[in-house]
């Protein structure tokens, strides 16, 4: 005990207090503390996901209070209410009052016996208050300070503890980040906020935070280790199966954590920092060697060099469809071609990013080039029966390209807008959500289209489809400005006959201006701008420049309190039938898929040879569900199509101190990226493999534990190479070990031993 710690006061259970105080951190303060307040937050009703619109429903949120929660002064700073610590229980209205002879942080333990707005609590939460918040609310230590314990008070506490900021700085930063206009509202229980906009912002952030804090409580209850939580899941077990590629266990890796540290890790799942906005620009069909260093793609290369680059990022298959499936749900579902057309063909509640974002209270948008513009989205984009049929869908899939034959044998016309490039369009329960139309939005394009009068719209930029020489370069510009000019000149206010939706030409720019972009934004150019039809011509570079500059000029990018990332990647690499990071039957003789069943805590309990249908238990936020994939052609999945480009550029680099110009030579794939997004947005539980989508759960630990039922992995020459991991750069190649880099055609500077920097390329500082 610190010698300056105040003498303990006698109590009815003095011995218990003494035992608590024996653990006291030296941060206690020599004054009494009297507090009153409310334990509040949000009650979130998740969406109902179903394959039909009739059976689907959106989510809802409400400001809430927690009754029956234990509130205490956390004398020893362990984030728990221990015996002997001053404690009380919240009333039916969530209120509490409490005093202590020692000023200390406050903790609200919300167990499953408490209620949230009268509703049962499925998994416990712990909210906290830093002493600085109590001090700020204290007029005199001898009088009661009003201190509310909420998810946001916990985020303020975490910022003070881990970012070296003051209480006032933490409050101001969080208020600005989430859009609360009056900082006095930030730490009120949402039920007491009268400003509707501020209340909505606090409620939304409360939902997001509660998800993270629930995870943190699980970390503690499970006894997760530091190694696991920093993203090195292999550390505790690695010696037992892969000593040659053993991830190093540092001194504290096997320590368990208490709530404060667990909550910090919950905002850095597997070492991946939380981002507020991620923009993923997906180009088409170019291997890394065609892009990196290309003279025709100077802008993209400038992003790759000023940002950070992954040298060994593998695509999933060829053609595009399996890759977009992988980008949307971390699995190719056994597809090796365009079998899943017509969409949405993935039924039965398969976990996907669209629904996972919504289930966590987060938002997603797709922005598709040449999709007709509308502020309210494109309703006609949803009805599968209207797609590619020439009866309305023609407006969305312009029949300018070669046709595609679906699994049903029907030939569908292609289009400038390749619907299969929308990562959410495949999933029936995502498309059936009521807000799907408004989330599928437009971005620059309209090449080759006709207007509502049947007149061809001239494209404002030369097609230059085969231009490679610098003499053929044209100036970059704004696609949408050009189309707007056309519309204005031709008095076009609607893009198709009978359209009643308001027309906004540049929906992406409008969303950036209003701050109404989503947390996850999937940006897919049309096939003239994504290199699919043209290759690496300058126009594709200009298109990326146009989009990125819009982001860079937006308020959210230039707001230092918001974390914004731009990803540039490609669906496939075109270089070879190679892949990594996920079940790769090509490397093991086309083995049959296996049925693996998990318990609620994520451990495997049974397996059997999987014949059709393939059923797998999946434990997600909503509980355990059984997923059935029919047919189960996993033996044909993950063909791989070589190494492609993956670059990350963030406003943390542009505005702050986050490092740029780094690279990571570890192996990643689309599955890894989805796993990373799940970590970035707090969508999954690192200690519960079943909560990750499909193949992205195949970590080294998972493979090791399930080797007997995953013969493909059991025969793997390199479990690390075959495993899926977050793109966190935690893995450090042992000295002298040569990387498996022959699969890529652009050789990274370092191919033996650790990378020069092991910094996470998504680092925020």
């Amino acid at each position: 005990m610190n010698s300056n710690f105040p003498l303990p006061r006698p109590t009815k259970v003095a011995a218990a207090v003494a035992s608590v105080l024996a653990l006291c951190a030296p941060s206690a303060f020599a004054s009494v503390s009297i507090v009153q307040g409310v334990v509040g937050g949000a009650y979130f009703t998740p969406p109902v996901f179903a394959d039909t619109a009739a059976a689907s429903s959106p989510s809802s949120t409400a400001a809430s209070v927690y009754a029956g929660a234990t509130v205490c002064f956390d004398l020893n700073g362990n984030g728990a209410c221990d015996p002997g610590e001053p404690s009380t229980t919240t009333s039916a209205t969530g209120s509490f009052k409490l005093s202590s002879s020692i000023l200390a942080p406050l903790v609200a333990q919300i167990s499953t016996s408490a209620t949230n707005n009268g509703n049962a609590i499925a998994s416990r939460d712990v909210f906290r208050v830093n002493v600085a918040q109590i001090q700020a609310a204290t007029k005199s230590p001898l009088l009661a300070a009003t201190v509310n314990i909420t998810p946001l008070s916990t985020e303020v506490a975490l910022a003070i503890e881990n970012q070296g900021v003051t209480y006032n700085q933490a409050v101001a930063t969080l208020a600005q980040r989430i859009g609360v206009s009056n900082t006095a509202n930030l730490l009120l229980p949402p039920t007491q906020i009268t400003n509707a906009s501020d209340q909505a912002a606090v409620v939304k952030e409360s939902v997001i935070a509660q998800g993270r804090l629930t995870l943190a409580a699980k970390f503690v209850d499970r006894g997760d280790t530091v190694g696991e939580l920093r993203g090195n899941f292999d550390c505790p077990d690695v010696a037992s199966f892969d000593s040659a590629n053993a991830d190093g266990c540092s001194g504290t890796d096997l320590n368990t954590v208490a709530i404060p540290a667990a909550q910090e890790y919950a905002y850095n799942l597997e070492g991946m920092p939380q981002y507020d906005y991620v923009f993923v620009i997906i180009e088409e069909n170019e291997s890394q060697s065609s892009v990196y260093g290309s003279k025709t793609l100077p802008y993209i290369n400038s992003l790759l060099t000023s940002g950070n680059l992954y040298y060994n990022y593998f695509s999933t298959s060829d053609p595009s469809e399996p890759n977009y499936l992988a980008l949307g749900a971390a699995d190719d579902f056994g597809q090796t071609g365009d079998e899943a057309i017509p969409y949405p063909s993935i039924i039965g509640g398969v976990p996907n990013l669209v629904n996972s974002m919504k289930a966590a209270g987060l938002t997603w948008h797709s922005y598709e080039g040449s999709l007709w513009p509308s502020a309210a989205g494109t309703t006609a984009n949803v009805g599968a029966s209207s797609w590619n049929t020439g009866t309305g869908g023609i407006y969305f899939d312009n029949p300018a390209e070669s046709s595609i034959t679906g699994a049903d044998g029907i030939t569908y016309p292609g289009g400038v807008v390749a619907k299969k490039h929308n990562t959410g369009v495949w999933f029936a329960d995502a498309v059936a959500q009521p807000d799907y139309p408004s989330n599928a939005r437009s971005i620059s394009g309209a090449y080759g289209s006709t207007d509502v009068n049947g007149n061809a719209i001239p494209y404002s930029y030369p097609s230059n489809t085969n231009a490679t020489a610098s003499s053929n370069y044209t100036a970059a510009g704004d696609w949408d400005n050009a189309l707007q000019a056309y519309a204005t000149a031709n008095n076009i206010t609607s893009w198709w006959s009978g359209n009643t939706q308001p027309w906004v030409q540049d929906q992406f720019k409008a969303d950036l201006a209003s701050g109404n972009v989503a947390n996850l934004n999937i940006i897919v150019p049309d096939t003239k701008d994504d290199m699919h039809d043209t290759g690496t011509v300058p126009r594709t570079d200009y298109w990326v420049e146009n989009v990125v500059k819009k982001i860079e000029s937006s308020a959210i990018w230039n707001d230092p309190t918001k974390r914004v990332a731009i990803v540039i990647t490609f669906d496939e690499g075109e270089s070879a039938t190679t892949s990594c990071c996920g079940w790769n039957p090509e490397r093991s003789g086309d083995g049959k898929a296996q049925l693996v069943t998990f318990t609620a805590n994520g451990t495997e309990v049974s397996s059997q040879s999987a014949e059709s249908p393939f059923t797998e238990a999946w434990k997600g936020a909503a509980g355990t569900s059984n997923l059935t994939f029919t047919p189960p052609p996993y033996s044909n999945g993950n063909h791989g199509h070589g190494v492609t480009t993956f670059g990350v550029y963030t406003n943390q680099m542009a505005q702050g101190n986050a490092p740029g110009g780094l690279y990571d030579t570890d192996y990643y794939s689309h599955f890894s990226f989805v796993r990373s997004l799940q970590d970035i947005f707090g969508l999954a539980d690192p200690g519960l493999p079943g909560s990750y989508m499909n193949r992205s759960k195949y970590t080294e630990t998972f493979i090791n534990e399930n080797a007997t039922v995953l013969p493909e992995f059991a025969g793997s020459a390199n479990p690390h190479f075959d495993a899926v991991r977050a793109m966190n750069h935690v893995y450090q190649f042992p000295a002298g070990v040569t990387h498996v880099t022959s699969l890529g055609t652009v050789t990274p500077p370092t191919t033996v031993g650790p990378d020069p920097s092991q910094t996470n390329l998504w680092a925020t500082q």
Partner: protein, 207 residues
């Protein structure tokens, strides 16, 4: 009885003793949740009998447990002497210089009784504060016994040795002058007087 009537009655009671010099005054405050502070102190009525100054000899109990030292394992915690400090709205704190005045009308009170000098010490062992500060918007009645409060019962929302009303409820406050305590000499004179009148009466009856 509403608060105003009650305060008027109390004021009348205090006024009745205005000429009597230092007196003992009983007080009580019943919190909205039913907890109660009781106690007494000595002082002098002022302001036409509506307030008391020169406060001393303070005794306070919260829910029947006195604000008094506690000895555990041979170590005594707490101070047996309670003192009063006034709340100074200009400072936004308690001070040593503003005279402490306790009002019959609870809505006028701005004081604290504790076992420390509340102007300089923020670690009392027990306290009873009654604050009405329009300048800083602080309206509270607080009673806390920190020697008893490190382990509360799990009773819903209440701690057995912490009581709070925010804002305070003036009608829950009573301040009355205690009945004068007879001293032996006075008792003798009183008895003598009674005897005198008794003898005289008997004589008149006999006559």
């Amino acid at each position: 009885m509403n608060g105003y009537v009650k305060a008027a009655v109390v004021a009348a009671l205090l006024g009745a003793s205005a000429a009597a010099g230092a007196s003992t005054f009983d007080f009580s405050y019943t919190f909205a949740d039913g907890q109660e502070v009781t106690g007494d102190f000595t002082g002098t009525t002022t302001n036409g009998g509506q307030s008391v100054t020169n406060v001393g000899n303070i005794q306070v109990a919260l829910n029947g447990i006195a604000f008094a030292p506690v000895t555990i394992s041979g170590v005594t915690y707490g101070n047996s002497t309670l003192q009063a400090n006034a709340w100074n709205p200009s400072l936004g704190n308690f001070d040593d210089t503003t005279p402490v005045t306790v009002y019959a009308n609870g809505a006028l009170n701005n004081f604290i009784f504790s076992d420390v000098d509340a102007a300089t010490n923020s670690s009392p062992d027990y306290e009873f504060a009654y604050i009405n500060d329009s300048t800083n918007g602080i309206y509270q009645v607080v009673a806390a016994n920190f020697l008893q409060s490190d382990s509360f019962s799990q009773a819903e929302g209440n701690s057995t040795q912490l009581a709070l009303d925010s804002p305070g409820i003036a009608s829950s406050w009573t301040l009355t002058e205690a009945a004068p305590v007879p001293i032996p000499a006075a008792l003798w004179l009183f008895a003598s007087g009674l005897s005198f009148f008794g003898i005289r009466g008997r004589r008149r009856q006999a006559a």
